[in-house]
């Protein structure tokens, strides 16, 4: 089942983009379910065409750049998030043979791209020329840098066990036992760091509607706002896929075809992210920072140390 790379590129692009658009509907319906409501159910069957209606609206809106904004940076910022997230999908092993680029350093590539994604938020906040957006950008910079550190560290346990940075080989190494069992702490840490990297509740401080009036994207409208919006959903799709690949054995699983297993795992984590949004309140910024540096970071280091010691002892 080896397919052509171009087919993989186009397939993954289309699936990722349409999945993230579809996610907007899924999120609204699930949030409604957990709040005892219905959510959008008027446009089309089960409200499925609501996304289409929103897209039409967002495409036809005036694409306005405020006069006090820094125009070139303002335009570049939403593009950065789309590019970095979509680039990360390139190293994602969806199923045997369905991968755009089987890089040897796939995991590092993913970390690099997710660290470049910060620029989108920070620059958007700065270029808007608005104090609330600036605050959102500052928060994003501090938050993403802090959480990136132990996001990388929490993955190193997996790397130690698998002995490679190559994502396909990490998946193949989990044929017997999924890494969620030996690396449970790493799994939890990566989950929390992933939520923070995707700027989802309870870590959505950069946008915080209640305090910062949408933070870094308050000045954005039309398709530029749409890019941030879709970028966020692409981001959580990416994080869910990464969790599935790194900790839940990717496409491994009995009876069903590999692709189905992968999609089931990804979808389960997407639902979990939405459940987190439905249930947890937003943290205060100092709580976020102390959680990151005083709890998560030492735990990630300890996890790495213990895993390293066990791997050494087994040899």
């Amino acid at each position: 089942m080896i397919s052509h790379p171009i087919a993989s590129i186009i397939g993954i692009l289309i699936v990722a983009l349409s999945l993230s658009a579809f996610l907007i509907w899924v999120e609204r319906r699930l949030l409604a379910l957990w709040q005892d409501r219905y959510g959008p159910n008027r446009v089309g069957p089960f409200g499925l065409l609501q996304v289409l209606a929103d897209m039409i609206k967002i495409f036809t809106k005036e694409d306005w750049i405020p006069p006090f904004a820094d125009k070139p940076v303002f335009v570049i910022a939403p593009a950065i998030i789309m590019v970095t997230v979509l680039m990360s999908f390139a190293v994602l092993p969806v199923a045997p043979g369905i991968i755009v680029s089987d890089l040897n350093i796939g995991l590092l590539f993913f970390l690099g791209m997710s660290s470049l994604g910060v620029y989108s938020i920070v620059l958007a906040g700065w270029a808007s020329g608005n104090k609330y957006s600036l605050l959102g950008g500052l928060r994003a910079a501090a938050q993403m840098i802090s959480y990136e550190v132990f996001m990388g560290l929490s993955l190193m346990g997996v790397v130690l066990l698998a002995g490679t940075f190559n994502l396909t080989r990490i998946v193949e190494a989990q044929r017997g036992l999924w890494y969620v069992v030996p690396q449970f702490l790493g799994f939890v840490l990566f989950l929390i760091a992933g939520v923070a990297e995707a700027r989802r509740l309870p870590f959505d401080l950069p946008e915080a509607e209640a305090e910062l009036v949408a933070g870094f994207h308050s000045e954005y409208s039309g398709m530029k706002f749409g890019m941030f919006f879709v970028g966020e959903y692409l981001g959580i799709t990416l994080i869910s896929s990464m969790i599935a690949v790194l900790f839940l054995g990717g496409w491994n699983g009995p009876w069903l075809p590999p692709l189905a297993w992968f999609l089931i795992k990804v979808f389960a984590f997407l639902c979990f992210f939405i459940l987190l949004r439905a249930s947890l309140p937003r943290l205060r910024f100092d709580q976020l920072m102390s959680l990151g540096w005083k709890v998560m970071f030492p735990l990630a280091l300890a996890n790495l140390l213990v895993t390293g010691a066990i791997v050494l002892a087994k040899k």
Partner: protein, 171 residues
């Protein structure tokens, strides 16, 4: 940490709860008869207008949305010459219904009064008057009150003693 997990679990349990939303245009909620909605003017059981144009409703109205002009017919019955309620200002507080001495003005459970043109929300008397007695079926103000009209002299109302002849001095 435990409380966070418990919160997540409790929220997850909501996926099995009944939804509280009522799909409004498709399924209508039950509204009790005393719901305060569109205002009407009711009639006596015998078909006459109940309103005696006392202006109490327009005086008590906090948003001044009621306007009327009193007049009198040839039988001595007072009635409003015009009666106008501007529903674009009305806040459905129900004070007019409380103030009304004759049960003429009443609030109904109907609230679906959307209009494209604001002017269409100004209801005149012919729009407000209904043909029945509304919530108080047996009540007829002119039978109860001691006011003299044609066909009912003084002392002929319900529970009313005949008028005293002030020129008779015998006790």
């Amino acid at each position: 940490m435990l409380s966070v997990i418990r919160t997540i679990w409790n929220v997850f349990l909501h996926s099995f709860r009944r939804r509280v939303t009522i799909q409004y245009p498709d399924e209508k909620p039950y509204l009790t008869p005393r719901t305060r909605g569109r205002i009407i003017l009711s009639r006596d059981p015998d078909g006459g207008e109940r309103c005696v144009a006392c202006h109490l409703c327009s005086a008590v109205c906090p948003v001044d949305c009621i306007a009327l002009q009193a007049t009198e017919d040839e039988n001595g019955r007072r009635y409003p010459e015009f009666f106008r309620i501007n529903f674009s200002r009305c806040i459905f507080c129900g004070l007019c219904e409380d103030a009304c001495p004759t049960y003429a003005i009443q609030l109904t459970p109907d609230f679906e009064m959307s209009e494209h043109n604001r002017q269409n929300l100004v209801y005149e008397k012919q729009d407000l008057l209904i043909s029945g007695p509304g919530k108080y079926t047996g009540y007829n103000f002119w039978r109860v009150s001691g006011v003299q009209i044609e066909g009912k002299d003084k002392g002929e109302a319900e529970n009313e003693a005949p008028p005293t002849d002030v020129y008779r001095l015998t006790p």
